[in-house]
């Protein structure tokens, strides 16, 4: 039985590499996803993942299917869209979501234009669905570096970030941390999406960030519980997805995200914090 779970990783180096990459991604992206969902910015990361596309496309046109070039391009495009929409939201009447929607649509259209003008459809599939089973040393170092930076960044900015989420007006009234914290957080989101884009592709980059974070709400009440719960769920989804794709011969990226989806549905039904099943059981209210 244990063999079924471990054999693919023992036997094949590419499976071990894929696992290492997914572990790095889970550890960094899931806590970021927790903050995203708590700030009601879940869909913002979806939009942002699209915004990365033109940058990656420019990198692709310039250097071919090269990870560093496409990553750098995606990073530049993502940070530019995050910064622009943040500046517009903070200096005009537009809310963050509206200004982001405007910029990501512009960015996505430009990306599709660039790719279809030059690349073939196979290249497009690579960009959309990633190359998790072909992670080379560079890609692993990139993923590891990103999750290190993410954890360090979250640790450094934890207190002001929580304050910015709970009561932004108060943080603005006591100091200058509000703006920098907001932009630093957006930068972490972009960084993790670019990381996910290398492993899972742009379309699915958001999956490992958000699905475990959303599912974690059914397992923990506060931040100190939500973040570990999200990481554990992301790790479980990664392993399950890799195994399913190995044994069933399915594409790996979608298999991982679908595993996360299964975990989400299971959490929603069975999770001890508001799972649907528990609502069916009668429980008397307390005295006070």
């Amino acid at each position: 039985m244990i063999d079924v779970l471990t054999a693919p990783f023992v036997e094949f180096a590419f499976m071990r590499r894929a696992l290492a990459g997914c572990v790095a991604l889970s550890v960094g992206a899931a806590p970021v996803g927790v903050f995203l969902t708590l700030r009601r910015m879940s869909l913002m990361s979806e939009a942002m993942s699209h915004a990365i596309l033109p940058g990656a496309a420019v990198g692709f046109l310039w250097a071919g299917l090269s990870l560093p070039a496409m990553t750098l391009g995606g990073l530049v495009a993502g940070l530019a869209v995050a910064l622009l929409s943040g500046v517009v939201a903070r200096s005009t009447v537009l809310r963050e979501d509206a200004s982001l929607a405007a910029f990501y649509l512009i960015s996505l259209a430009a990306g599709v234009l660039l790719i279809s003008a030059r690349g073939s459809s196979i290249d497009l599939l690579h960009i959309l669905f990633g190359t998790v089973l072909a992670l080379d040393d560079d890609a692993l170092l990139l993923l590891g570096g990103i999750s290190t930076v993410t954890l360090a960044g979250l640790a450094v900015a934890y207190r002001p970030l929580v304050m910015e989420c709970v009561d932004p007006l108060f943080l603005r009234s006591v100091g200058r941390a509000s703006g920098p914290v907001h932009y630093a957080f957006l930068a972490l989101v972009v960084l993790n999406l670019v990381g996910g884009f290398a492993a899972l592709g742009t379309l699915l980059a958001v999956g490992l960030m958000l699905l475990p974070a959303i599912a974690a709400r059914f397992w923990a009440l506060d931040l100190t519980g939500l973040m570990p719960a999200a990481v554990i769920l992301a790790l479980a989804a990664s392993v399950a997805g890799l195994l399913v794709s190995y044994y069933a011969g399915l594409p790996t990226g979608p298999a991982i995200v679908l595993s996360a989806g299964v975990l989400y549905v299971a959490s929603m039904l069975l999770g001890p914090r508001g799972g649907l099943v528990w609502r069916l059981l009668p429980s008397r209210h307390l005295e006070a």
């Binding site: 002001p160 304050m163 709970v166 009561d167 007006l169 941390a177």
Partner: protein, 277 residues
Amino acid sequence: MSAVSAPGGALVFRGLTLGYARHPAVHHLDGTVPTGSLTAVVGPNGAGKSTLLKGIMGEIAPLEGAVVRPGLARHDIAYLPQAAEIDRAFPIGVFDLVAMGLWRRVGAWRPLKAHRAAVEAALAAVGLTGFERRPIGTLSGGQLRRALFARVLLQDARVILLDEPFAAIDSRTTYELLALVRGWHAEGRTVVAVLHDLDQVARHFPATLLLAREAVAWGPTAEVLTADNLRRARRLCEAWDEEAPVCRAPAAAAHDHGAHGPPDHLSHDHHTHGHAA
């Protein structure tokens, strides 16, 4: 407290005009809130009371004129807004919410442990002992207001701005919180509070600014809250006029406004506006 007795700390308005989309909500306000004063801001709805506090905080930029805060840094002013932008669904406890008031002392990294007793004392002062671990989403409106009061208490600021601090709070708690406000006054802090209950103002606040976009009266409470002044305030506070002409009053620099005290505040009579049109 040494921070409180340091020099400076007054709020000076110089021809201050605040507003939205060029329409003034506070119009050519001149005067000084002296250090250590306890001032109530009263006036009809839409008189610009909350706007004035936002202007002092720098939340909105003046259309004209300025708020001068000699010797006051941003963190020297504590602000309890009318509608806090608090996300009550965020999973955080009352203790952590109130402990945010320690920001100036602990910043992003220093440990909270040394200040635990101070947080508990602040919670006790507003009657929320035992609520430390309750998620903020489970508090009633009045309880949340009290928690925010406790946070202001912890901020230990030299200037405290309160925007309708007692809205949605029962009378007994209001009485206890008013005692806190008077305590701040006794410690030499400058307190400005937007209030609607004129009896409360008359009983507890030595100075009052009656605002109706312009300062109708500003001075000792008994002299400000006259029937005549209140009638004028109601009359002045007219609806937003889409067609309002550009204000031709002399610019802020033309006024003479040093740091005089309240008696100088009716300087408005020397220019007339066309807003009633």
